[in-house]
Amino acid sequence: MPAALAIQETVPSPARHAVIARVAGVAKTYGSGENAVAALTGATLDIRAGEVTLIEGPSGSGKTTLISILGLLLTPTAGEVWLEGRNVAGLGERELPGLRARNFGFVFQGFNLFPALSALENVAIAIRMKNPRARGAEAEARRLLDHVGLGSRAHHLPADLSGGQKQRVAIARALGGNPPILIGDEPTAALDTKTALSVMELLRELATTERRAVVVVTHDPRLERFADRVVRVEDGRIEAITTPNATPAT
């Protein structure tokens, strides 16, 4: 375990493998009539606490649509999205920001950090934006940066950080507000192999030690060794869900 992860934080602790979110029979169609394009059809997936779920598939297969629906960023054309014990698929824009703030942290390929803000400020502003009444956002941000091993770089601007360090700042930002689910959109794609593996290791540890659900879209099969499950998406359908680290039956 990395030293940075030795600090345990207080997080919701659902039982390991408990289902904390579910998409059931979701479909997404863009356009209408003759121009309709089905991006996703009949996708059903459970998101479990403490698990790393990789979503793989070729470009245009529907991976991003799937995590967008799961992350409540996209409304499905059909199907259900279960979160906090209820179907939230039909909720309006008034309720969704609060649900997203409580449940999700996002990590992106391009980091999406404000270049004018230090690592600490990037994390703190996300905490304040999620909850404007949050007190001690800066102290919490510092704790999260320590947590991902970047405490010593807290006052550096993104331009002064390496790709791996930027992604760690982005992970610390995603942890702001203590969401139970982390969604990564190719978070290692812009990193060299060694850095990519260390970032994935960090995400794995967050799942294992803090029982967060980690969902990562990737093209990189080398990441499968960190995953509890690999979801294969092709042509808008979930073709297979495998468990790469399952102990073979003897």
Partner: protein
């Protein structure tokens, strides 16, 4: 939010400097143009504003204070006999030619006032800086303003000149009494003024100034005077407003100054709007990320509005001293830029509104920003 807004603005210092320059120029233009306008208007009504009269009585149909039609002296007695009038005083005002030492002529605005011993005229010259205004009662005595030295080629009290072919001696000098028409104002006694204006007939008068009796109903007295044939009565503030309105509307000076001021606001609006919008586009993915993670639209909008308000505050902080500098520079050209606390307050308000509106395009952009877009490459 303020901290984020400030850092986003300052991150690109050149762009920030352009934004502040845009707002500053806008603020300076508004202050100087509107200040100049008010300065001109103050000049236009300065004689009226400085008078101690309660009512100004003139001929009906007089459009302009300066170009009033004279009436005969009997009107004075009619007005003086109106119940509620404590005192009535004659004023004769017109333009005549003054002879310059080099042989040339110059049009001056003669203001003939009553110089009753022991009683200060309701339109007596003020801001006297040299000489003895009491001597105005002497035949041929005049009082001129020292800012008109260059035009009148007068350099001292005691200077003798010729007005309308009549000997005139400067007995006192004032400071800051200037006419909107640019013709120097020459105070003199009513009798001397009449001697300059024989063409107006016997005992002409252009205004009767009225002092109300203590406790008199001003509206009732005004109505009684207006019931007299061909007369109109205005309070001093009403007369002042009429004069300002006349010069503002008839000369187009108001439209001219305000058009330039509006152009200044438009310049500021465009510059700030463009800077804020390009800044918003630059950070669109970051704003989208915050929205994806649950930030409400209102929180992101506050960041943009904060940037607009910072631009407004700093732009005003730079633009206002620039306007003060311009006022000092213009004073040398005898131009009065009236920068009042009210003008500063209104301009600050305009600057805030201008910057807030300039942020609208950016605000619409982030409101329409689909948080799912952060997943699209």
């Amino acid at each position: 939010m303020w901290n984020l807004a400030r850092k986003l603005l300052l991150h690109d210092r050149l762009r920030f400097a352009v934004a502040i320059a845009g707002v500053s120029v806008s603020v300076m233009l508004v202050l100087v143009q509107v200040g100049l306008y008010f300065g001109f208007m103050d000049t236009a009504s300065s004689l009226i504003d400085a008078s101690t009269a309660d009512l100004w009585v003139g001929k009906q149909g007089n459009e302009s204070f300066e170009f009033a039609t004279p009436f005969d002296e009997r009107t004075l007695y009619k007005v003086a006999s109106v119940p509620g009038v404590a005192r009535a005083e004659r004023v004769l005002m017109s333009f005549v030619q003054a002879k310059l030492p080099d042989g040339g002529d110059l049009g001056v605005q003669v203001v003939g006032i009553e110089t009753t011993p022991g009683q200060r005229s309701m339109l007596a010259p003020w801001n006297v800086v040299a000489g003895d205004p009491q001597r105005l009662a002497e035949p041929g005595a005049i009082v001129v303003d020292r800012t008109e030295y260059a035009k009148l080629k007068i350099d001292r009290v005691g200077h003798v000149t010729e007005i309308a072919g009549t000997r005139a001696e400067v007995v006192a000098l004032t400071s800051g009494i200037r006419s909107f028409t640019t013709s120097p104002i020459v105070f003199t006694d009513l009798r001397t003024a009449r001697s300059y204006l024989p063409q107006f007939g016997d005992e002409p008068v252009t205004y009767v100034l009225v002092k109300l009796a203590p406790g008199a109903d001003r509206l009732a007295v005004q109505a009684r005077i207006e019931a007299l044939p061909h007369l109109a009565a205005y309070t001093t503030p009403q007369m002042s407003t009429r004069t300002r309105t006349y010069w503002s509307e008839r000369t187009g000076v108001g439209a001219g100054f305000f058009t330039t001021a509006v152009l200044g606001v438009i310049v500021g609006f465009v510059v700030v709007g463009q800077i804020l919008y390009s800044g918003t586009l630059q950070y669109l993915r970051e704003y989208g990320t915050l929205k994806a993670m649950g930030a409400k639209n209102s929180a992101v909008v506050r960041v943009i509005l904060s940037q607009a308000m910072i631009s407004a505050a700093l732009g005003f902080a730079v633009g206002a001293p620039l306007a003060i500098g311009m006022r000092a520079a213009m004073k040398g050209a005898n131009l009065n830029v009236a920068l009042t606390p009210e003008l500063y307050a209104v301009t600050a308000g305009i600057t805030i509104v201008m910057c807030a509106f300039a942020a609208l395009l950016s605000i619409v952009k982030v409101l329409r920003l689909d948080p799912a877009s952060v997943f699209k490459g």
